[in-house]
């Protein structure tokens, strides 16, 4: 422990680590800024047709206006609640199902074929059926979000449980663990990284599902607004909504990734 201190001369200034830490974020920020600048001036100098592409400054102004109208919040709220409901339902169903399927070979053999068929099939293809069953209101969108998110979480949870370290299970049994102990204290914490990865994939799928679902047929929501503005060639407002969805999805995905990294950290050195 003490020997290594003598080998490498320490950096005198604290600036080095700070730079390292923000280097990645810095490069990414520059890239985004450059893109926005290019877009702004390309539109300004008529390299591109502003009617089709709009312009960052115009989108920004449109956003300022839009964010002050109750209409925006109404549609955002509709999409948000459809997403949250569908996703919460997916979480509640997928994790227990994944845990059971991961543990029991027999159940897995029985359930896997239809599960895999649904996992690989484009679930948005089911949207017309869902609309016939559930109508054009929220329910059909909640269902399609659920279908989008549930499978990646199930599949990853199964993988996490099946990867469980047999030595840990044996150790737990030696101390008298029953099946519930093994689930709660070994299998679930052990497969948490895999479960979170499934959640992260599920967020993307669920978000896609809600937007496309609303575009397809609905009376409200961000997808509905995108479609309306698209048809009316209102590029500024359309892009505001598109950015809102992107930021929401990006933020949510990144927070799960942070959680994932934290949970996975115990694996980093081993």
């Amino acid at each position: 422990m003490t020997v290594t201190d003598q080998i490498a001369p320490r950096r005198t200034f604290a600036i080095g680590p700070v730079l390292d830490r923000y280097y990645g974020a810095g490069v990414s920020t520059v890239s985004v800024l450059l893109f926005l600048l290019l877009w702004e001036f390309a539109a300004e100098w008529n390299w591109i047709n502003i009617r089709f592409t709009s312009q960052p400054s115009q989108v920004f102004r449109a956003a300022v206006v839009l964010f002050q109208t109750p209409v925006f919040y109404h549609h955002a709220w509709v999409s948000f609640s459809e997403f949250v409901l569908g996703f919460a339902l997916a979480l509640v169903v997928s994790i227990p199902v994944g845990l059971v399927l991961g543990t029991s070979r027999r159940v897995r053999l029985f359930v896997e074929p239809p599960l895999m068929a649904l996992y690989t099939a484009p679930r948005l293809a089911l949207l017309p059926i869902l609309i016939v069953w559930l109508g054009i209101g929220m329910a059909s969108k909640v269902a399609v979000v659920f279908l989008g998110a549930v499978f990646p979480i199930i599949v990853n949870t199964i993988a996490g449980v099946r990867d469980a370290d047999q030595r840990l299970l044996q150790a737990a049994r030696a101390f008298g663990a029953n099946q519930i102990d093994i689930f709660l204290k070994v299998l679930i914490p052990g497969s948490l990284p895999a479960i979170l990865m499934g959640v992260r994939l599920g967020i993307g799928r669920g978000l896609l599902s809600v937007i496309v679902g609303e575009m397809f047929v609905s009376e409200a929501g961000i997808g509905y607004q995108l479609m309306t503005y698209g048809q009316g060639m209102h590029m500024n407002n359309l892009l505001v909504y598109a950015f809102v969805v992107s930021f929401f999805g990006y933020g949510l995905t990144m927070s799960v990734r942070v959680l994932e990294d934290r949970v996975r950290s115990w694996r980093s050195v081993a």
């Binding site: 840990l168 049994r173 030696a174 914490p189 694996r267 050195v269 081993a270």
Partner: protein, 264 residues
């Protein structure tokens, strides 16, 4: 009556994808007195770990009986605790959390848990590392945690399956000393499986030598060295004599295997 009585125990495994069975150990008889330190040594494949797992109640026996304090062993129980080889610690729990693990599973009361876990973490010399995770520890430290986890549940019998097998030679010696120091405090019955002859002699009151095809007990050697044991004894005449004797047993086993290979 001895504390542990193993009578005519055989254990068989089903070979994968066939109806054939593989006899891991056959006709094992062994009595172990309370408070003694018994080591089991033998070439790999002699079934020494299998015997230990049977004592832990983790595998079923085909024949025979194992009794601890007169009670038949039908599964894991709080009277026995096991120290495994490396990598049996929960990687997401801290040192403290790993020691707590056994206590939680055995339903120790809430008040005891933390205090008791902390006490045993200190006992194995890891007081300053209670919040560290296994991946931040050396192999030797991880095995200290493993030992603390087993001792914390206050078992009658401590079962150890090559606990120092993954450690380098120096750490191994230190850990042997340390284990004896801890063991001397309350002299719980200890059964220690190893493939190291020196380790078996250094630690044990008795060394059980196992042979293979199928696994059986060749001999039980009483080790008449004074306790507390010290590293200097490794060079004593008595120690060297034990070592020679045990080495002959195990070398013989290797030879017989070689002959089987030649015939085949």
């Amino acid at each position: 009556m001895s504390q542990i009585e193993i009578r005519d125990v055989s254990i068989e495994y089903k070979k994968p994808k066939s109806e054939e069975t593989f006899v891991a150990i056959q006709g094992i008889n062994l009595a172990i007195e309370k408070g003694s330190f018994v080591t089991i040594v033998g070439a790999s494949g002699c079934g020494k770990s299998t015997l230990l797992l049977a004592l832990a109640g983790l595998i079923r026996r085909a024949r025979g009986s194992i009794r601890v304090e007169g009670r038949d062993v039908t599964g894991p129980g709080p009277d026995r605790a096991m120290v495994f080889q490396d990598a049996s610690l929960l990687p997401w729990r801290s040192v403290h959390g790993n020691v707590r693990f056994g206590l939680e599973l055995q339903r120790w009361s809430r008040d005891d848990l933390n205090e008791r876990a902390a006490r045993f973490v200190r006992m194995v010399g890891l007081g300053g590392f209670a919040d560290y995770h296994p991946h931040q520890l050396s192999g030797g430290m991880r095995q200290r945690v493993n030992i603390a986890r087993a001792l914390a549940v206050d078992p009658q019998v401590l079962l150890m399956d090559e606990p120092f097998g993954a450690l380098d030679a120096q750490t191994r010696e230190v850990m042997g000393d340390e284990l004896l120091r801890i063991w001397e405090r309350d002299k719980k019955t200890a059964i220690f499986v190893t493939h190291s002859i020196d380790e078996a002699i250094f630690l044990g009151d008795r060394v059980v030598v196992m042979g293979r095809n199928p696994g059986h007990i060749r001999d039980v050697v009483e080790i008449d060295l004074p306790r507390p044991r010290a590293a200097a004894m490794l060079d004593s005449a008595a120690f060297i004599a034990y070592r020679r004797k045990l080495r002959e047993y195990i070398a013989g086993d290797m030879q017989s295997l070689q002959m089987i290979k030649d015939v085949a």
